[in-house]
Structures are given as C-alpha cells and as structure tokens.
C-alpha cells in the first residue's frame, strides 16, 4: 500500500483500486472512491452526486449508500446543474461530501458567507470544468453529426472535441468534431460556460481532472486544503485509492491548458457582449427592452446559487404587480444585490421562461463592480461581500 508522505506534495495522479469503480469512473474513479471511503470512515454523513438517467440527463442524489455513489460515477457534460441549493436545503445540518465544479464550489462558499452552510461540514471534491452543454443543444449536435439523438449512448469531451457514440440497432457509431468548429456554427457550450474563466476549482478542497494526467484512467489531483488532505489521505490509507506523484510535465500541461482555456473564455466574453459598442442611452434601451419581457416567475432568484434569501426577500417584497415602472423593482433590486456576488454561472438564464439574456446583464453590472473592488466572489469564505462592509477597500487597479 502506498504511503502518503508526512509532508504532502500537492499534485498526484490517483485512481480507484477497485477495478469496477476505476472502469466506470470518468478518469479512474478517484472521486467516487474518495466519497465512498469518506463515508465509510465517517467523515461525512451523506454524499451528493449526480446520477445518470441518460446521456442527456442526470439528477442530484443525496445518499449514504456506497452503491448509489458508485452508480453515479462518470462525468455528465449535459447536466448544467448547480448543486449549491441542494446542499443548503437538504443537507445544511449534515456533514456532506460532493463533487463540485468551480461554480458549485463558489456557490457553496457564498452561501457559507451568508450562514446558510458551514464549510466545516462540507467536503468539496472539485472537478475541473471546461463546460457543460444544454442537453437539447447536445441533441442538436448529435443530429448535426448525422446520429439519431435518441440512440446516443455515450458522450465524451476530450482534447477540445466532442465525441458521441450512438447505438443504432446494435451497431455502434462514433462521431466527433472540434468544439471550436461546432461553436462557430452556433452549436456548443452554454454561453455562461463559454465565457467562464474559472476552470480549476482552486477554492475547493481538492481539484480533480484529466488535464495533466497521462492516462485516461488516472485523475490528476490537486490537494488544496487541510480538509482535502484529510480526505485524500483517508482514501489512500483505507486502500480505496492508488496514487503516484504527478509528473512535472503533467503539472505544466495542466497549467498551460488552463491558461489557454482562460484566454479563450475571455475572448468569448468580449465577443458575446452585445452591449460593448452601445452608447449610454442605447444601453438603457437595451436593458428596458430585455427586461420588459419578464413575467416575474421568480425562477432566477430561486436557482441563483449565491442568493440566500427566502421567499420574502427585498426583490420580491418591493415588487408590486400594480406598478407600471419601466423596469420592475424585482429586476432592479436583484441586479443590484448581485453586483458584488454574481459568479456568472448562468443558472438564471437557463431557467428564464422568456429567455432574457440574464447572464450577460448580470455580468455587465457585476463584473465592473467586482473589478473596481478587486473582489472575486466565491473564492474565499473569509472575504465578506463588499455590500455588507462598512468601508470599501478599492482595488489597486481602480485607484
């Protein structure tokens, strides 16, 4: 059995020793094996995982059954789900372990700042995240590949390509295309993901992914916190996980890919900013025009991973259906309240029944404020949301 050295290095390649877990896992089942071992060693009471229903569909599952955790291994790229609110609503008082994409982890940290969760109780096994796709957009890609969307049995994203495998009457067919190419044709990732610059979950306890790994069945693991170290050590010591030190080249590769992805995201952000070239009054028209379609369903608030308000909140309380304002109080207050805290995850836009470009709007308002403040939400639980501060500390850049 491998010994974890007394003083840990940070980067490892790791995989599940159990062959079944290793085979089913996305990259060797490290995440799954770690969750199972944490449950067994009583570090956590429950795990929150995403269980596959089909290639296009996965549902959040809160479980203390190791078998169910094992069943839920593998990466689902068509499940643009944020797990934050499930932690808050169903496991606030429990010790919980879960895989977190960067936006899951950031949401949980923002909730912790608002005292809706306690990080002591939450073990975040971070997953690097290149993107998620809307499942119906993935179906369109399948059709574009010439496959019957209903018969797609596997999907995979690697080396910047989307692979789909269909099984039509027992015959497997594999098709792939570069993401860049697909996106030029209007297919592809969610807008929020395209422009997301946080690809490695450095705010979580561990960061896992295939970047930097030299083997499809080994996960590159970055041990980030003491809690992460505890989890990791336990997974190794209990015999669930095998490890080797990450090769220096892998570390470099990972950094290089991350930097490249960030650059691409930044350029998407520029490209998708429909307001960039508008004058002040045109900007005003844009906002009034976009927000007038709001039917005040409240879904955007409900799903927002950083909003911690109950049903009776300021945005809902100050909104009166009888007002005939050019923009509703609901929308103005919500946008205002998220200026320091929006993590640009796009959950709100995903659920908006009238397709208001909420990610863009929230981003426009929040990004400039966050830049001035030198503050990035969801990264550090000790940093209070600036709107709650008595005195602001401005970023050097803003001065």
């Amino acid at each position: 059995m491998e010994e974890v050295k007394a003083k840990m290095s940070r980067y490892y390649l790791a995989w599940a020793k159990d062959d079944a877990i290793r085979k089913k896992g996305a990259n060797g089942g490290f995440v799954t094996a770690t969750l199972v071992s944490a449950l067994e060693a009583d570090f956590i009471d429950v795990a929150l995982v995403v269980k596959k229903k089909s290639v296009y569909e996965g549902i959040p599952v809160l479980t203390n059954d190791p078998e169910e955790i094992k069943e839920s291994s593998g990466s689902l790229h068509c499940v643009p789900l944020n797990l934050t609110k499930y932690v808050v609503e169903y496991a606030a008082k429990k010790r919980i372990g879960l895989p977190t994409k960067p936006c899951d982890a950031r949401g949980i940290i923002e909730q912790a700042k608002r005292r809706q969760a306690s990080l002591e109780n939450v073990y975040m096994i971070g997953l690097n995240c290149g993107a998620t796709l809307h499942p119906l957009r993935m179906r369109e890609i399948a059709a574009y590949y010439g496959l019957d969307p209903d018969s797609v049995v596997r999907e995979e994203i690697k080396e910047g390509k989307i692979f789909l495998v269909s099984d039509e009457e027992g015959k497997e067919k594999e098709k792939w295309m570069k993401i860049d190419e697909l996106e030029e044709k209007g297919y592809g990732r969610r807008d929020a993901c395209k422009s997301c610059v946080t690809k490695i979950p450095t705010m979580a306890d561990l960061a896992c992914g295939n970047w930097g790994s030299n083997d499809e069945k080994k996960t590159f693991v970055d041990v980030l916190t003491d809690k992460g170290e505890t989890l990791f050590k336990n997974a190794v010591d209990s015999g669930y996980v095998a490890i080797e030190e990450a090769p220096g080249k892998g570390i470099e590769t990972r950094q290089r890919i991350d930097a490249g992805m960030q650059k691409r995201a930044a350029s998407w952000k520029e490209k998708m900013d429909a307001l960039k070239a508008l004058s002040r009054s045109e900007r005003f028209e844009f906002y009034v025009d976009a927000l007038k379609n709001c039917i005040h369903c409240g879904a955007c608030k409900e799903v927002c991973p950083v909003c911690a308000c109950e049903e009776d909140a300021k945005c809902t309380g100050l909104y009166d259906e009888r007002d005939s304002y050019a923009i509703s109080m609901y929308n103005l207050v919500r946008i205002f309240h998220l200026m320091d805290s929006c993590i640009h995850c796009g959950q709100c836009e995903d659920v908006c029944p009238v397709d208001i470009p909420l990610t863009l709007i929230q981003r426009r308002f929040s990004e400039r404020m966050q830049r001035h403040l030198g503050y990035t939400p969801g990264m550090d639980v000790t940093k209070k949301p600036p709107l709650y501060e008595t005195e602001l500390r401005w970023s050097a850049e803003a001065e």
Binding site: I59, E89, P353
Partner: protein, 507 residues
C-alpha cells in the same frame, strides 16, 4: 432526497420538471428539467410554484358530511348512482389533472350508468365546428411550427399572460424573421407584435376588413370553456378563407386526450348541464378532479346551483370550493399518478408516478379493470400503435384539411347598465383554472383613472347587475373604456367577447 420526473398540470403545454422531495416526503421543491422538449427546462410562475399547490388540504372520504373509510364512500357512490335515472345523471371532468387512462375509465363509468351527459368543458363548440374542421379544436401543433413560422397572428392572445412558455417560441420566431401581428382590444404591453390591429369592442366584425392580413399565417388563439362560440367560428372562417393555419391552446393539460378519447361518447355542454341542474332536470353530478366553483367565473353562483342537486359526488385529491358534496372520495395528487396525457403539441407524456388510485376508484364503482387494460385501450383509441412512449415524438399528429364555414356574425353587445360604460376583458392565465386568485387588481387606462377620480391605493368597484366586485387597480396603456382582468371576479361573462360593466371608485 428523492427526485422524480413530473409534468406541470397548469396548462396544455405540460412542461416537464422534477419534484424533489425530502426523505420524509415533506419538503418539496421544483427542479427545472432541462431535457424536456416542451419547455427546455423553463417554467412559468405556476410551474415554478407547483409544489405549493400540492400542499393544499387533501380531500377526505365522506358520505353526507361524515368522514368514512374509502371503501364505504365508494360503495355509497355506487349505490346512489344506481338509484338514479340515466337522464338525471351528469359526469363532468375538466381535463386538467386527469390521465388518458382515467378518461377511458370515466367514460365507461358514465356509459355503465347509461349516462349521456358527459362534459369535458368544451362541448358547446361541437355545434360550431364542421366535422372536417374538428381536428383544429382537438389537436394543436408542435412548437417547432411556431419557431419556424414566417407570420404569426396573435388572436386576442397575450402569450406572456395566457401561455408564457409560448412567448419564448414567438420571440424565437421573431429572431428567425417572423412577422408578428396582434389582433386585440389592447396593444400588448411588452410590444411583442410588429403590428397591431386594434379592435373596438363594439366593432369586432370589422376584423373581416383585414382578412388579407391572415394570408400565409399561423393564427394562434385560445379555446376555453368561456370562449365565445361566435369568436371560434370567426377564427375558423378566417382560417378556412385564407391560406393559414389555426393553432388553439387550451387551459387544461389533457384537453387533447379528452377530445380524442371522448369522441364517440354521449356528451353534453357544461353550461347546459348546469342549466339542467338549475331546472331540476339533472339531479346527480359526478365531478372528477374538477373544482367547478374554483375554476369557473362567478364560482359562488355555481356552488348555489349545485346545492340544488340530490347527489353530488366529488372525486378529488384536494378539498374543493364546494362544501355541499354528498359523497367525497379522495384520490391521489397528479404527480403521484401512473398514466399518460397528450399535450397540445401532440406529445404523449408520462406523469411519472406509480399510483393507480384515482383509476381504481372509478373501476371499483364500475367495471373493475386493471391499469394495463385501460392503458392499452387508451393507446389504441389515440392511435398510438405499439411504439414506446417518447416525449420527443409528436405521436398525435394532425393533418390539415380543407373545410368551409359560413361567414359568421358577431352579435352586438346587449344590456349593460346605467352609469359609465366599460368593457370587462378577462385575460385568462394558468392560475385562473386552478382555483387560485392570482391577481388582486384589474387594469384600467390612465384616462379612466382620471375620470373615475382614482388615486393610488384606491379600489374600484366593478358591477354587472347584481354581481359586484371591489378590487385594486393598475394603470396600463389601454383603450379608455377597457377593464382588463387577470383576476377571477364575481362577474360572469355575458355572451359577447367582453362584458359591459359599470365601473366606479369604491367608497
């Protein structure tokens, strides 16, 4: 935590969603289901709040106001139904929360007691629609047809209010280059239309002058039990005399199922049934998941009417607005049901639950068949064949046919009282039919506000004969004499499209 797939029963779109339950089955929450093709993970406010409607007080099993075991209530229902003459009986089900299987069972139950007075809420239109055009009221169209339309006519329909999930398809069509024209009493406040044909309430007929506008268009309208039959024949005439297609949305989820499955059964119009009750001709009523007093306009009047019955049987999951029912039988809430519905696009959808309780209640009163049997019969009658149910398929397709209708006339408004004259226009929405009063105000024009001497915070009184309602108001860009209501008021609409009402400042 349990995550179950489900369908929203708020309207005929049938949006897919998940209902998440805590272990104890208590705390429920709606999770958006991005994979459902009807709504792509989006929901209107009704859908977003769906879990709260499942928290209502559940129905009890009772006979003559006394709580009893379910078996006893069922037995009592069977006995009492047997004691009635067929022509004294009526069966009503507004098809909001009932499955195809339950419809089949409901129809055979009625037939078993020889009853030909069965209503699903839309029978008043049968006389208006020629046989060749029946498909238009029976079946809708896939939303992809909306996305791809080049010209869309919104016929007295505000998609944002009536069917919010349709609004995004129209916005999408616009992005694809469609021209949107609205025919309405008031301009859409969100400006979704490129062109507005503003109709003066007393001159609806003049739409005929604009007939050429309807060429090559997709006409989208709404069909509810309150739709004026003359307006329906008007839409049919526009459709028949131009190269256009007509798409009618309906408020009840399984309207299509009810239309198709109930085709060859003895049917009677809902309003005629109520008249029959009033006259004492109909003495017994079986209400399947239909809170009549909660759903209908002027609900108190409905409750008064039904109090004249000798026998009222209610089968429902939740308490209704009636407290006079002789026999109440508790069924399961919609999300727990095993079974299928057909949405307005023609998709056959599975509800996602396991329970057969509602079906079994009817089968215990009647024949006593198993779910599989009834399910097969429903599938056969819907023409579904053997293929597996797939939400991505439009299983119930419609074929456009040519038909003719005579040029309709819209009768002029009659009646109306003294005082200032206003026209009340009900704008229905998914809340409307579910016994919920979604809004507590009506909309009026700024001119009316001035004329009526209203200030912010005041209330208006709207009256039509004896019926009166006091309610708050909102200012909207409306024609001066229009009162627009998304709230259900204690005012029954008259025969016309609009109802003449008196409007004044409430003292």
């Amino acid at each position: 935590m349990k995550t179950n797939s489900s369908i929203c029963h708020g309207c005929s779109i049938g949006c897919g969603l998940y209902l998440v339950e805590s272990e104890e089955g208590e705390k429920r929450k709606v999770l958006h289901r991005t994979t459902s093709p009807m709504n792509e993970g989006k929901l209107c406010r009704f859908g977003t709040d769906l879990h709260t409607y499942y928290e209502r007080e559940t129905m009890i099993n009772s006979v003559d106001g006394k709580e009893v075991k379910q078996d006893e209530a069922i037995k009592a229902a069977k006995e009492s139904l047997k004691g009635m003459k067929p022509e004294e009986l009526a069966f009503i089900a507004l098809p909001g929360t009932i499955t195809n299987e339950e419809i089949v069972s409901f129809l055979s139950l009625a037939a078993e007691f020889g009853c030909e007075n069965v209503s699903f809420g839309f029978e008043r239109f049968f006389g208006v629609v020629p046989e060749e055009a029946a498909y238009i009221i029976e079946k809708g169209l896939p939303f992809s047809e909306v996305d791809g339309a080049s010209k869309i006519i919104l016929f007295f329909l505000d998609p944002f209010v009536h069917y919010p999930l349709l609004a995004r398809r129209i916005l999408k069509a616009k992005k694809n280059g469609a021209k949107v024209i609205e025919v309405s009493f008031a301009k859409n406040e969100r400006g979704i239309a490129d062109e507005t044909v503003l109709v003066v309430p007393t001159e609806v007929e003049r739409i005929k002058e604009k007939k050429e506008l309807f060429e090559d268009s997709l006409i989208i309208g709404e069909l509810t039990p309150y739709t004026n039959p003359q307006l329906l024949s008007f839409m049919l005439w526009l459709n028949a005399s131009t190269a256009s297609r007509l798409f009618l949305l309906k408020p009840f989820l399984n309207s299509t199922g009810a239309f198709l499955l109930g085709k060859d059964s003895g049917r009677k119009d809902l309003f005629e049934i109520l008249e029959g009750v009033e006259k004492g001709e109909i003495k017994a009523l079986y209400l399947l998941e239909t809170d009549l007093a909660g759903a209908m306009l002027g609900g108190e009047g409905v409750a008064e009417t039904t109090s004249k019955l000798d026998l009222l049987i209610e089968q429902n999951a939740f308490r209704t607005h009636f407290d006079t029912a002789g026999i109440t039988i508790c069924s399961e809430p919609f999300f727990m049901k095993k079974g299928t519905v057909v949405n307005v696009e023609g998709r056959v959808l599975e509800i996602g639950g396991e329970s057969e309780k509602g079906l079994q209640i009817m089968e215990s009163i009647g024949k006593g068949r198993k779910y599989e049997e009834v399910h097969e019969e429903a599938k056969k009658r819907l023409g579904l064949g053997d293929s597996e149910i797939n939400e991505f398929e439009i299983a119930v397709k419609r074929e456009e046919r040519k038909f003719e209708v005579a040029e309709p006339k819209i009768e002029k408004e009659e009646g109306g009282g003294a005082g200032e004259e206003y026209f009340l226009w009900y704008k229905t929405n998914p809340f409307f039919w579910n016994g919920i009063r979604a809004k507590n105000f009506v909309e009026i024009s700024p001119v009316a506000m001035k004329e009526l001497g209203l200030f912010r915070g005041d209330e208006v009184e709207i009256a039509q004969g004896e019926q009166k309602e006091r309610i708050g108001f909102k200012i909207s860009d409306l024609p001066q004499n229009l009162v627009l209501s998304e709230a259900k008021l204690a005012i029954k609409p008259l025969q016309g499209l609009l109802t003449r009402v008196e409007t004044r400042r409430a003292e």
